[in-house]
């Protein structure tokens, strides 16, 4: 079976999901930072609230797409999902619990606004922000696992050590790199949103610049942990490492070359760092904020594409080789391309309308109303 279409479907859904999830996590932290600032400066309450409402809008989209990924993965790559759910049982349970805490704490943060003492509300907000990290804390194990399948001892029958799976050396740098990336993207999304609001209310302009600064500065720890991740791959996932560096280093054993995607991500990150600082000093230049948010998403997309395409033609990397994508494709039925393509087109079309409506009525309407 040709795996191109299933890979494209998975890729598109995954990229949309990851974009919104990252924006969402970062917005949670920025809302809490602004809430904390508002304890000494009441003027900051307004932007804190606006940022939180952005968060709620993106939570809905990321949730919808999270559901889609589960169905797409289980439907098109059933055996891979079965392996992952058995070996990574504990991390996935962490993510499920994280989802519960995240949703309940978002609701709690919303309804306790101005109803409890500010410091108590801040504590609820911190719980909400931190709970956003627990979801990728579980799911990032899947990416670490397919880079380096620690814990898997047998494919037939599927067996392994669920505790040993937790010790995957690829996981810590990947996770921390993800955290800083999410903060950067979310802060820059907040910056763009506040820059938009600043047309009507100049007081939020400063906090747009502040978000750009934080979002830009996050590139530094993200770069450092990225280097850590990159060097870890050289030991534990050499095929992927070779794919990422094929044009720059004398590495031969990868048939895939994603080094320019990787380089593109690095260069965009440098631009983000530079312009983040510039916007902080010149917050009235809203075009910088409008530019930074899509740039950060472009960096995310390039990074994820390099990470995921770099594994091809394998789905799971084992040293300098791997288990091919075809091994895991659904063999239980012939999946009709027409069904997949037409379904995907409808999903993308309605998602675009969904996002536009959320922007028009939730962000523009309600935020301006509040």
């Amino acid at each position: 079976m040709d795996v191109t279409l299933p890979l494209i479907v998975l890729g598109i859904i995954l990229l949309i999901h990851l974009t919104f999830v990252n924006v969402n996590i970062g917005l949670g932290f920025y809302s809490v930072i602004l809430k904390w600032k508002s304890l000494s400066n009441p003027e900051v309450t307004k932007p804190a609230r606006k940022v939180f409402k952005f968060l709620v809008a993106t939570e809905v989209v990321s949730g919808v797409y999270g559901t889609m990924i589960t169905v797409i993965l289980a439907g098109i790559w059933p055996t891979l999902v079965n392996i992952v759910t058995i070996i990574l049982f504990i991390p996935l349970i962490v993510s499920i619990i994280g989802i519960i805490i995240r949703l309940t704490s978002i609701a709690a943060y919303w309804y306790t606004w101005d109803k409890v003492r500010p410091r108590t509300h801040l504590a609820i907000g911190l719980t909400m922000a931190l709970s956003g990290l627990t979801i990728p804390a579980g799911f990032r194990y899947i990416f670490a696992f397919i880079n380096n399948p620690v814990g898997l001892t047998s494919l037939n029958p599927i067996s392994g050590n669920v505790i040993e799976a937790l010790t995957n050396p690829v996981y810590p740098p990947l996770l921390i790199h993800t955290f800083f990336g999410a903060l950067s993207i979310g802060f820059l999304a907040a910056s763009a949103g506040l820059a938009c609001s600043s047309k009507a209310d100049k007081t939020v302009e400063r906090w747009s610049g502040y978000a750009s600064l934080l979002g830009g500065l996050m590139i530094i720890p993200q770069g450092l942990t990225g280097f850590w991740f990159w060097s870890t791959l050289s030991f534990h996932s050499p095929y992927l490492f070779a794919s990422l560096n094929r044009s720059f280093l004398p590495l031969q054993y990868s048939s895939t070359n994603v080094s320019y995607l990787f380089l593109g991500m690095v260069l965009i990150s440098i631009v983000i760092l530079t312009f983040g600082i510039v916007h902080y000093h010149k917050p009235s230049r809203t075009w910088i904020a409008y530019m930074l948010a899509p740039l950060s998403i472009a960096a995310l997309i390039l990074g994820e594409m390099a990470h995921d395409i770099g594994r091809l033609p394998y789905m799971v990397i084992v040293g300098d080789t791997g288990i091919p994508v075809e091994t895991f494709i659904n063999r239980l039925m012939l999946i009709e391309p027409a069904l997949i393509l037409s379904g995907l087109l409808v999903i993308i079309f309605f998602t675009a309308i969904f996002i536009a409506l959320l922007y028009l009525y939730l962000v523009k309407g309600i935020i301006e109303e509040s």
């Binding site: 919808v64 999270g66 559901t67 889609m68 589960t70 169905v71 797409i72 289980a74 439907g75 098109i76 059933p78 055996t79 891979l80 999902v81 079965n82 392996i83 759910t85 058995i86 049982f89 996935l92 349970i93 499920i96 619990i97 989802i99 519960i100 805490i101 949703l103 309940t104 709690a108 309804y111 494919l155 037939n156 029958p157 599927i158 067996s159 288990i323 091994t327 895991f328 659904n330 063999r331 239980l332 039925m333 012939l334 999946i335 009709e336 069904l339 997949i340 379904g343 409808v346 999903i347 309605f350 998602t351 309308i353 969904f354 409506l357 009525y361 939730l362 309407g365 309600i366 109303e369």
Partner: protein, 496 residues
């Protein structure tokens, strides 16, 4: 946690999720009708109620999506073996469900934020109608997935090969050798290694089977063509709608009883909504016959459980409605056991166990559930009779207006009773549906122990999930209460 506990946890998750499903589907139908009446009669009170309903739907939708994700995760994470079905029979309905879900989410935002935005109010109503269609389509697809587990349509005579009392489940849309081999490995793994069969759903086995026999499923649409599924879709969607409608009616009745000065206002709305619920409930009662017929044809053990037929004999309600003969003798468990005993292929073995042994053991396991299922069913029927009576009283208030003048409180109390009775009937019905298909998860084909994760589930995980679900439910209700008390200004809901 043992298998029993895992089943109970899954049931809890599904029940909590179903609360939001009842709100989303039942409220959407009511919203469509109430908005229609509001526009047609130019009645502000109907439009106000419609706006309130749209708000509640939005909140329930968000929580429903969250619990739906948990239920879905639970399915894949705890019942890994179900992946076998997700990759085959469930794929088309679940993929279409993603499309329906996206349309539903988009149109819900559209209908919520376009109130009073169009010059022609019918434009908004069209959004409401399309949204409701999306919600129903979503429910239809998920019901078809559950229905396949009740009657595995497209597997032809496979179940009959093991259980001689079983019917033929439609055309043979599967590769028989592929499925029999999977079943062989599952039984062998369970019997010989006392392990979960989930671990054999791996690339080595499935790719080998594919090389030998080709794909398992030949027709990806087959699960949507099952007569059992089509009947269940109507039955389940009607049941869900009735619950949602009577929750609205019950809430209006409560307000009418509490606020004497506004009683006329609430009574009028209550009567309209309760009439919708009553009509649907009567249709549900008539349709229930079709569902019963499907159980009679496709789930012989469940039919014997429901009718309490440990031994073959008459079952008056079914005898009358199916054959017009109250003395018609239905086949009970004695007959099913007898057929298993006289198995036509006693030498046939699956995973080293003879099919005769399997058929006898499983039929006896099903028999163990008879007292529980029969009791649940009878309580359900009793409550259904009570609700039918209340529904007739509500309908009579439209035809015998003079008689009911001054006695409206009785109607409102009837609405309050239905607030609790309607979900109780649906909940009991679902319990009968799910317990009645035991000892199988996929009727006649797969057991829970073949599908469950090989990993243990600790009490900390169980308690966190239960706590999270309950907390989530409380937050949803609190949110609904607060939002109805102080609705967003942009909706311009207005006063009572």
């Amino acid at each position: 946690m043992n298998l029993r506990g895992t089943l109970d946890l899954s049931a809890l998750g599904i029940y909590i999720h179903s609360i939001t499903v009842a709100i989303v589907i039942g409220f959407s139908i009511t919203l469509t009708i109430i908005e229609f009446l509001g526009i047609r009669k130019k009645d502000a009170s109907y439009i106000r109620l419609a706006k309130q309903l749209s708000l509640v739907i939005a909140i329930a939708f968000v929580f429903g999506a969250a619990t739906g994700t948990l239920v879905e995760f639970g399915l894949v994470q705890v019942w890994n073996g179900v992946i076998l079905a997700i990759g085959s029979f469930f794929f088309t309905p679940l993929f279409l469900e993603l499309v329906a879900f996206t349309i539903e989410a988009t149109l819900l935002v559209a209908l919520l934020y376009t109130w009073d935005k169009f010059k022609n109010p019918w434009t908004h109503w069209m959004i409401t109608v399309t949204y409701t269609a999306g919600a129903l389509f979503s429910g239809l697809l998920i019901t078809s997935v559950n229905s396949w587990m009740q009657a595995p349509w497209g597997t032809g005579e496979i179940v009959k090969i093991i259980y001689p009392w079983a019917p033929v489940y439609g055309p043979t849309a599967i590769n028989i050798n592929f499925l029999i081999t999977v079943k062989e490995v599952l039984v062998s793994t369970r019997v010989n290694f006392a392990a979960s069969g989930a671990s054999i759903i791996n690339p080595t086995i499935l790719n080998t089977l594919f090389s030998s026999y080709g794909e398992l499923l030949k027709d990806p649409w087959v699960s949507l063509t099952s007569p059992y599924a089509l009947t269940s879709i109507v039955h389940q969607l009607l049941a869900t709608t009735v619950v949602g409608v009577f929750w609205i009616a019950g809430a209006l009745a409560y307000k009418g009883l509490r606020k004497k000065e506004k009683r006329d206002y609430y009574l009028r709305l209550f009567k309209t909504v309760a009439l919708i619920g009553s009509i649907l409930l009567i249709i549900q009662g008539i349709e229930g016959h079709e569902q019963g017929l499907m159980i009679y044809i496709y789930q012989p053990t469940k039919f014997a459980m429901i009718s309490g037929l440990e031994k073959s004999g008459p079952y008056v309600p079914a005898g009358l409605t199916i054959f017009g003969d109250p003395n018609y003798v239905f086949k009970g468990f004695d007959y099913l056991l007898q057929m298993s005993e006289n198995h036509p292929n006693p030498s046939l073995k699956i995973g080293g166990v003879s099919v005769k042994e399997i058929a006898l053991a499983d039929t006896l396991k099903a028999l163990e559930k008879l007292p529980l299922v029969k009791t649940l069913y009878e309580v359900k029927i009793g409550l259904a009779a009570l609700s039918l009576l209340i529904s007739l009283i509500i309908i009579s208030s439209f035809t015998f207006k003079k008689f009911w003048r001054g006695k409206e409180r009785i109607l409102l109390y009837g609405g309050l009773i239905m607030f609790f009775v309607a979900p109780a009937i649906a909940g009991l019905g679902w319990a009968v549906r799910e317990i009645g298909r035991k000892p199988w998860t996929v009727y006649g084909l797969l057991y829970p122990e073949e599908l469950v994760t090989p990993n243990p589930i600790g009490p900390e995980v169980t308690l966190t999930i239960i706590g999270g679900l309950i907390l989530g439910l409380l937050i949803t209700f609190t949110t609904i209460y607060l939002v109805l008390k102080k609705p967003p200004r942009f909706l311009k809901i207005g006063d009572e």
